[in-house]
């Protein structure tokens, strides 16, 4: 049983590596943010799998917290990248974001 879970964990690690490739390659900042979002979702799954592999039922709380924090992190980075201003409530940036 543990073997199957370890194999699944490896598959998810591979997915994370692929997401990391996209995050490094870009080309737009939105590509990077999207890749980081996938990376975060996979982290949650890995923590859930580790909970079962090790048998420490408490770890599932960490996964739950990470699922929440990941969303906030993506929203924050998106807002910072787009408006360069975390304090405003407006969405539309007057300054354009440089593409790298």
């Amino acid at each position: 049983m543990t073997l199957v879970m370890v194999v699944t964990t490896m598959a998810i690690f591979a997915t994370m590596a692929l997401a990391l490739v996209r995050a490094l390659k870009g080309p737009t900042i939105y590509d990077r943010i999207n890749a980081v979002n996938v990376f975060g979702t996979k982290t949650v799954l890995i923590i859930a799998l580790i909970t079962y592999i090790t048998g420490h039922a408490d770890l599932i709380d960490v996964a739950l917290v990470y699922a929440l924090i990941n969303f906030i992190a993506v929203v924050t980075v998106l807002k910072l990248a787009k408006t360069r201003d975390l304090a405003s409530s407006a969405d539309v940036a007057d300054g354009a974001v440089e593409h790298d």
């Binding site: 408490d58 770890l59 709380d61 960490v62 739950l64 917290v65 929440l68 924090i69 969303f71 906030i72 929203v75 924050t76 807002k79 360069r84 201003d85 975390l86 304090a87 405003s88 409530s89 407006a90 969405d91 539309v92």
Partner: protein, 150 residues
Amino acid sequence: MIDNDILRIVARFLIPLIMLFGLYIQFHGEYSPGGGFQAGVVFAAGWILFALIYGLDAALRVVPERAMYILMVAGVMLYCAVGVAGVMLGGHFLDFYPLLPGEHAAQQFGIITVEFGIGVTVATVVMLFFTLFARRKSQWEAAEVEDDQP
């Protein structure tokens, strides 16, 4: 980001859940990983999500900056008070056993109170970090305008 309807509605739904989950971590430190520090961060994250969607001004109307400073200090004071109370009643610093008659009850009371102090401090400090960081741009712009005028 208030004009993104979908994001706004989902955030409105999530914010109470995030804050409640922060408090859950706070009070279940005995039974699962967590405790004051993580709980404070998660609780503050709920407020930060609100600030991101509705703007910093609206968020500061919910939790005023003054209240943050007061609570920040109050949390540390609570922590110290429990520690010093142990010394006063004839133990070491942060020794919970002299606080209450029963050993288990004393331990539980001490840990919950201390963790609560930590949680309050961490939550308000994280909120303050965000506030100061988010204000940077407007302050910087204001300084620039002043520089332009002779």
